[in-house]
């Protein structure tokens, strides 16, 4: 893989800038809330500026190459290096993590969830940002693991402290599930390290040499990684932490969880598990695809059974990540392209839906679908935004969701060599059915919350979209439409990198 080492400070600065903000926040007195909010805002704005600089200097003609690569010794004894870089797959997710954090910070300026304490809240959010961005740029398994785990604690505290009624249960479940996954993942990482000659943890090195491992060993190592990533995605049957975590998390936590954290798992499959262990990937792909379509259908039925708006959106995540995993499981560049697009699109759309859910909760003090209604008459702008996002989520052509879902289904028609075509075509049919269910539950949700007459919420809390909300939401809405209309904005960046990643499968 080609390495471009220009501007190699950019990624480190972009990743660790939030930590500078954390230090600044630590010395800011707790009572001075305005200063705290200002520091958090400035930090995330500065991070996004670095992100834009990264975007501008990214060489789009060589999107398949690692760019801004920095590599120095870190822990030489165990042959782990500080090795970072972005390619076309990492870049959108890396930037998404920065933008979403900024938007969440903006939203939080006006919406610190109970029990308050913005200082701690913003500190956790910025640590989270470093962990997420770091995971997407790490090119060394140990570095990747450290960032991957770094995300865990802030999110645990965010759910546990600022969450809803059942927050203790939800946060514990989230933590233990994820930790269980990463525990086995660590063993798998070590196994692949030793099986490739104990030379390096660098991902490009392992991609070069991982294929040489005996197939039966590969299959076991893949199993360890699979559990680690599948819990994070989350794939059926490891998904049960997700509805609880989402329902109990504060709005900001839900948004970050949906928009970025779930992608860590799918990104792990695309970046690590599949390229380093190609033979095992072929063995595992039908099972992954099978679990993915089960997830699609299960998620859809789960949605139809929900009475709580936030829980419904959470279950819809299970279904959507099923499409992403189906695309990945085809092991074709078409499918993986769709999957990466789907990751970004789901991040934008579901993140947005959770924002809306938070605002609905704030206005109506309930998320019971049965108690909502008439949003279009009472809060028309919020209602229309919900409408747009529901349509995007169900995969309406012209909006971002379509380009993640439709090509993923299509890719299952023609999976990579060595995969059973008839199995995949069955998956395709089931997944297509899933889109119908998706339309059903999302339209049902929209109809019951937005249409009809308001159900007696006349108090002054019910107001339309505020300025803070507009500022936080508009970029997401613009992106949803823009990527929907001109999907090549994204596909153009992703595709070369996907081709590069899937070289072992003949493209």
């Amino acid at each position: 893989m080609q390495m471009i080492r220009d501007n190699n400070w950019v990624l480190s600065v972009g990743t660790f800038l939030p930590m500078l903000g954390v230090i600044a926040l630590l010395v800011t007195p707790k009572a001075n809330e305005a200063a705290i909010k200002m520091v958090a805002l400035l930090t995330s704005v500065a991070t996004v500026i670095i992100g834009i600089f990264t975007l501008v200097n990214f060489d789009f003609d060589q999107a398949g190459a690692m760019q801004f690569v920095a590599q120095t010794d870190w822990i030489p004894v165990i042959k782990s290096t500080y090795f970072i870089g972005v390619d076309g797959i990492s870049l959108p997710l890396y930037l998404l993590s920065m933008v979403v954090t900024l938007l969440v910070v903006i939203y939080s300026l006006d919406h610190i969830p109970s029990p308050g304490n913005p200082k701690a809240f913003f500190i956790l959010m910025l640590i989270l940002q470093t962990g997420m961005a770091g995971t997407f740029i790490a090119q060394d398994l140990i570095l990747f693991f450290v960032f991957f785990e770094l995300v865990l604690l802030p999110m645990y505290f965010m759910i546990g402290v600022w969450g809803g009624e059942q927050r203790q249960y939800a946060s514990l479940k989230f933590f233990l599930y994820t930790m269980f996954g990463s525990a086995l993942m660590l063993v798998a990482f070590l196994a692949i390290f030793f099986k490739t000659g104990a030379e390096s943890f660098a991902i490009p090195y392992l991609v070069e040499n991982g294929g040489g491992i005996a197939k039966n060993v590969q299959v076991w190592i893949f199993a360890g990684m699979f559990i680690g990533f599948a819990v994070k995605v989350p794939m059926f049957p490891f998904h049960t932490w997700l509805p609880d975590a989402h329902t109990q998390a504060p709005t900001q936590g839900s948004v970050i969880l949906a928009a970025i954290l779930l992608k860590l798992g799918t990104y792990g499959f695309v970046r690590i598990a599949i390229p380093t262990l190609p033979d095992a990937a072929i063995e595992w792909a039908p099972w992954i695809g099978g679990l993915a379509v089960v997830g699609i259908i299960y998620g859809a039925f789960g949605c139809l059974a929900q009475t709580d708006m936030k829980r419904l959106i959470a279950f819809s995540s299970v279904a959507h990540m099923g499409f992403v995993m189906l695309g990945i499981s085809t092991l074709t560049s078409f499918g993986v392209n769709a999957a990466v697009f789907g990751m970004v699109a789901h991040g934008l759309i579901t993140g947005m839906l959770f924002f809306i859910a938070g605002s609905v909760k704030e206005r109506y003090h309930t998320l019971e679908i049965a108690k909502l209604g008439g949003m279009l008459t009472q809060v028309p702008r919020l209602g229309w935004i919900l409408g747009l996002c529901s349509m995007a989520s169900l995969g309406l052509p012209g909006l971002a969701g379509f380009w993640g879902e439709f090509p993923a289904i299509l890719s299952a028609y023609n999976p990579a060599d060595g995969l059973n075509v008839s199995v995949y075509r069955t998956y395709m049919v089931i997944a297509a059915l899933g889109t119908v269910f998706a339309a059903a539950y999302l339209l049902w949700l929209y109809q019951r919350t937005a249409f009809g007459t308001p159900k007696g919420h006349d108090h002054h809390d019910v107001h339309d979209v505020t300025t803070y909300e507009w500022v936080a939401w508009l970029p997401l809405l613009v992106a949803i439409v823009a990527f929907g209309v001109v999907p090549n904005l994204l596909f153009g960046v992703i595709d070369p990198a996907v081709q590069e990643t899937l070289r072992a499968f003949g493209g």
Partner: protein, 511 residues
């Protein structure tokens, strides 16, 4: 044996023995304190902390010296002078310094005996970790154990403490008997007690060894004896009761220093003396490791009392160290030495965590007993006592949280470095089963640390205004202890390079 002939006094390398001398000197100075009136508060602790500190600095100097010297034995082969033992010795000194500082603040009477016993225990542990002779090792074990028996029973107002001391004494004596019998059987077959000598004798046997049954019986008895001391399942049953009953700072001392001494002595004995029988003892170590990991972590999460929780968690940690020993037992593998150094690094890092965690527990329990002095009989270390600690003292809670997370093995803490090393050794020697089981048990145990964190951060104090009215108070020595423990945990977690750099030299034993 021929006793006649000219007697050659052993050459004494005074500098190499200086850490031991510093510890003894401290204990003797404290005993001389009986001739004088009671010293001002804190002075006894100062003496013991100082002498342990001096011993620690001297050990560090020798550790550094060994960079360009070969490991060797001292006092006619009685003690080993190698980095393996010296790193453990440093950890022991650190544990004594920390414990002295937390003890100063403890409610128990400010008596010279307490601190003198800390130093004699440290001396026993120091001898255990460097002993190159089974008899010397046994002397160390007894010196350590006798001191700990008394320390465990030192809180005379609580009957639980008396019970802990007695229980520890009886079971410890039982374990010593096993050890002694094992030593006798090994001596019986090999004709010597020198650990490195046994190793070379067994390695020198050309044909199929005779008396193997007797030797293996000896090895098994030694494993059982050390299993008691290390508290491996199924020899662990004393641990929760004793850890729970003993005064909290003593518990921290036992968990750190006792563990270091026992694990290091065990690893040295098995790796230096019995490598040729590794195929025989490794399955036993494997079984003990699996049992210890699973039973320790599963029983830990059902406890209601924080001290008992941490006691079971220390059992589970011992299981991790056994994973390292199991890897060290794969003699044929090129990375068997990784097992040795990873077990040592694990126990050394754990010792700091244990002292710090139990110091934090003692702060909370002290506070709880101040607040709820009216209601007798209620344990001051129950999980409820931790409710809402973060609200009254967030900095303290944050420090304790770091220690707990490190015990759970979260990255960027020393606990992760420790677990990573052990798992790495296991994977590199292809014991995947053990590696996976160890990680699973780490996740099970993580629930326990989370429960304590949940209590501190997410629960409201049971007796509302009474608790929030006064925050747990921390004296200066306690603050220093906690801050240093947390600092060590984080610095070694983020930059483990130094520790890992020397880890190769750790597996070079003096023979």
């Amino acid at each position: 044996m021929d006793i006649a002939g000219d007697f050659l006094p052993p050459t004494i390398e005074w500098f190499a023995l200086s850490p031991y001398i510093a510890l003894v000197a401290g204990a003797l100075i404290l005993l001389l304190g009986s001739l004088t009136p009671q010293w001002p508060r804190g002075w006894y602790g100062l003496v013991s902390a100082t002498s342990a500190g001096v011993a620690g600095v001297l050990s560090v100097l020798q550790f550094a010296n060994l960079a360009d010297e070969l490991p060797r034995t001292l006092v006619k082969g009685a003690l080993a002078h190698d980095r393996f033992g010296l790193l453990a010795l440093i950890a022991i000194c650190v544990a004594v310094v920390f414990t002295s500082m937390t003890t100063v603040d403890a409610d128990t009477s400010d008596s010279l005996e307490h601190f003198a016993l800390l130093l004699t225990a440290a001396l026993g542990a120091a001898i255990m970790v460097t002993a190159n002779d089974l008899v010397v090792s046994f002397l160390g074990i007894e010196t350590l154990s006798l001191s700990l028996y008394v320390l465990a029973a030192s809180d005379r107002r609580r009957s639980a403490s008396q019970e802990a001391g007695l229980k520890y004494f009886i079971l410890g004596g039982f374990a010593s008997a096993f050890l002694l019998y094992g030593i006798a059987l090994v001596y019986g077959t090999t004709g010597q007690t020198s650990i490195s000598g046994i190793g070379s004798t067994l390695a020198g046997e050309v044909s199929v060894p005779r008396n193997d049954a007797m030797l293996l019986a000896g090895v098994a008895l030694l494993l059982v004896g050390f299993g008691f001391k290390v508290s491996l399942v199924p020899f662990h049953s004393w641990t929760p009761d004793v850890y729970h009953g003993a005064p909290t700072h003593v518990t921290g001392f036992m968990a750190s220093l006792g563990k270091v001494a026992a694990i290091v002595a065990l690893v040295r004995l098995f790796v230096v003396a019995f490598p040729t029988r590794a195929d025989d003892w490794r399955p036993a170590v494997f079984a003990l490791a699996v049992l210890t990991l699973l039973v320790g972590s599963v029983l830990a999460i059902v406890q209601r009392d924080v001290k008992r929780m941490l006691a079971y968690s220390s059992i589970s940690h011992a299981g991790f160290m056994m994973v390292g020993l199991e890897a060290a037992g794969r003699i044929g593998s090129s990375s068997a030495s990784d097992g040795v150094s990873s077990a040592l690094v694990y126990v050394v890092l754990y010792s700091v965590l244990a002292v710090g965690s139990f110091a934090a527990v003692s702060v909370v329990s002290q506070h709880a007993s101040d607040v709820t002095s009216t209601s007798e009989g209620q344990s001051t270390t129950s999980l409820d006592a931790f409710n809402g600690v973060a609200k009254t003292n967030p900095v303290f809670a944050l420090g304790f949280t770091v220690l707990l997370l490190a015990q759970a093995g979260v990255p960027l803490t020393s606990g992760f470095v420790a677990k990573f090393g052990v798992i790495r050794a296991a994977v590199s020697t292809e014991s995947y089963v053990l590696a996976v089981l160890a990680m699973v048990s780490a996740v099970i145990a993580a629930y326990l640390y989370l429960r304590i964190m949940v209590s501190m951060w997410l629960s409201v104090p049971a007796s509302g205004e009474a608790t929030s009215a006064l925050a747990p108070k921390l004296s200066l020595p306690l603050r220093v202890t906690l801050v240093s423990a947390v600092a060590i945990t984080l610095v070694l977690g983020v930059l483990p390079t130094w520790l890992l750099d020397v880890s190769d030299s750790l597996a070079l034993f003096a023979r």
